[in-house]
């Protein structure tokens, strides 16, 4: 209360604020309260759970690498250049952030699927994307790429170009400026973006189930496993949900720790 007064906030703001906080925390408490702690360990280490968790970590890791490889250049182009239609491109790139993931999955299906836009090309190359782990990585990259681009573009804009200008007048070629000045300066933002992308990829469900299918060890990631376990073994679903909550908490802690270090 005292701090609210000194901050000049009207006191009544605390009531909806507390309600909002409770609204977010309470479900997590409810989830934790439903966990069968006696069987927790055996539930989260069952073969199917372990397979799903390992697959999730593997695909999310790969998707994060792809996000960095594709997203860093995208953020650089958006933050450091201006061209006609840039605003439109930016909006389109951010679309997966607000698109229902299932819509993303359908769109991917009509792009990379057998009957899709690139289906024949992919066939000719002898690649099989449908129902493969590659499809999972594609779906995860699709939904998590904007997180990296948004976060990095913001950092780039905040950092400004003054250091880059100085570096170029010191004789540094554009590639040297990028490597020795731009990227080191935005490294915290890049790390935060990568962690967010990883978290989004780890939680990806809708696009995956629509586009990649669901098969243990190949395409059934942890969220899909949770959804399936609900059918027969709600206790396992709850236990695995808690695992994802813990991972999410760790991720947020990592991002916050990073940004505080700035």
């Amino acid at each position: 209360m005292a701090s609210a007064r000194t901050s000049g906030l009207p006191r009544w703001v605390l009531v909806p604020a507390a309600a909002g906080a409770l609204f977010i925390v309470l479900p997590l408490v409810a989830l934790a309260s439903r966990v069968q702690w006696g069987s927790f360990w055996s539930l989260v280490t069952s073969d199917s759970s372990r397979e799903a968790l390992l697959l999730s970590l593997r695909t999310s890791g790969t998707a994060t690498v792809l996000c960095v490889v594709l997203g860093v250049p995208m953020a650089l182009v958006l933050a450091r250049t201006s061209f006609r239609g840039q605003a439109l491109i930016r909006s389109l790139v951010l679309l997966p952030l607000v698109l229902p993931p299932v819509v993303g999955g359908i769109a991917l299906l009509y792009t990379f699927g057998r009957q899709g836009l690139l289906g024949e090309t992919i066939d000719v190359l002898g690649l099989q994307i449908a129902f493969s782990t590659t499809a999972v990585v594609i779906a995860q990259t699709f939904v998590s790429l904007p997180f990296l681009v948004v976060s990095l573009e913001g950092t780039l804009r905040t950092a400004g170009q003054r250091y880059e200008v100085v570096a170029s007048t010191l004789g540094a070629r554009p590639t040297t400026v990028l490597r020795r000045v731009t990227l080191p300066l935005v490294l915290p933002g890049l790390a935060a973006g990568a962690v967010l992308s990883f978290a989004r990829a780890l939680g990806e469900f809708g696009a995956t189930i629509t586009f990649a299918g669901s098969l243990e060890g190949v395409t059934r990631t942890l969220p899909l496993e949770i959804y399936l376990q609900r059918e027969t073994d709600p206790d396992a679903a709850v236990a695995l949900s808690l695992v994802l909550v813990v991972v999410a908490v760790l991720v947020i802690g990592l991002v916050r720790g990073r940004s505080n270090a700035l």
């Binding site: 609204f23 780890l202 299918g213 059934r220 609900r230 949900s241 999410a248």
Partner: protein
């Protein structure tokens, strides 16, 4: 991440509905409805595969009983029974299998005993051109044919496993989907060469898929029971609706959709 949020939110909602459902204040409401039977509304929880038939039957029932409104909640049977167990306000439950109805019965949620109203069997669905040339159930064991099944954890997957056993074959699916709708989706989009779905699904999909019947399907029959629920505020109307579905008009509509007689 999204799936955590979604499941956490639904747990919160279920927790609140539980609180409402367990409160024991049905008496006064009953008196009100019996004095004004004109304004009666019942909610029917029905398996997703019953959607088109039950929507039609709901309108017919409302026409036959002026003043009565029927609203539906269509979802997977296991989802529905979970919601009913959590105290969701349902008057009638129609399940796609006996297992889930048994769960409701075991929890004393069913008024009287359930009535079987329909049966459903599996059929092979292929894309319209049938690119892999699937003619029989044995073709599904061909490793070059991309087959999509329901996961064994859900009723249509259990049925598929039964068919496999009856035909003496072993199918290696490229994906084990969450629901029969997902299987159908993969076939319609051409991603899969074949899938095992219900006869009614093939019928409802029209010319988007081609159905391939096989004799072994009769060995695994899914039975659809319907029952009025103890939690109903209008037990008479609830029972009347269940009887209506089991009656001549109900049976005619279900048969037209491809369901078998009980």
């Amino acid at each position: 991440m999204r799936s955590i949020v979604v499941s956490a939110a639904s747990i919160l909602l279920l927790a609140t509905t539980t609180a409402c459902g367990t409160s024991d204040d049905n008496g006064s409401d009953d008196a009100a409805t019996s004095s004004a039977p004109q304004d009666t509304s019942i909610t029917v929880f029905a398996a997703a595969s019953l959607k088109s038939s039950f929507t039609e039957l709901g309108s017919a029932f409302e026409k036959a009983n002026p003043g009565v409104t029927v609203t539906f909640n269509f979802a997977g049977s296991s989802d529905l029974v979970a919601q009913i167990q959590q105290g969701a306000p349902a008057d009638v439950f129609a399940s796609a299998d006996t297992t889930n109805m048994d769960k409701a019965t075991a929890d004393d949620l069913v008024a009287g005993s359930p009535t079987d109203v329909a049966t459903n069997t599996l059929e092979i669905a292929t894309p319209p051109g049938n690119p892999a040339g699937v003619d029989s159930i044995d073709d599904l064991a061909d490793p070059d044919v991309k087959v999509v099944l329901c996961a064994p954890e859900v009723p249509c997957g259990a049925a598929a496993a039964g068919v496999e056993k009856a035909a003496g074959i072993s199918i290696s699916p490229v994906s084990e989907e969450q629901s029969v709708t997902d299987v159908l989706g993969k076939v319609v989009s051409g991603e899969a060469d074949a899938g095992l779905v219900y006869v009614t699904d093939v019928k409802a999909a029209g010319d988007k898929v081609r159905g391939v019947t096989f004799p072994e399907s009769s060995r695994v029959v899914n039975t659809y029971p319907i029952a009025a629920l103890t939690g109903s505020k209008h037990p008479d109307v609830a029972k009347a609706f269940a009887d209506f579905v089991a009656g001549d008009q109900g049976q005619a509509v279900l048969a037209a959709a491809g369901f078998g007689a009980p």
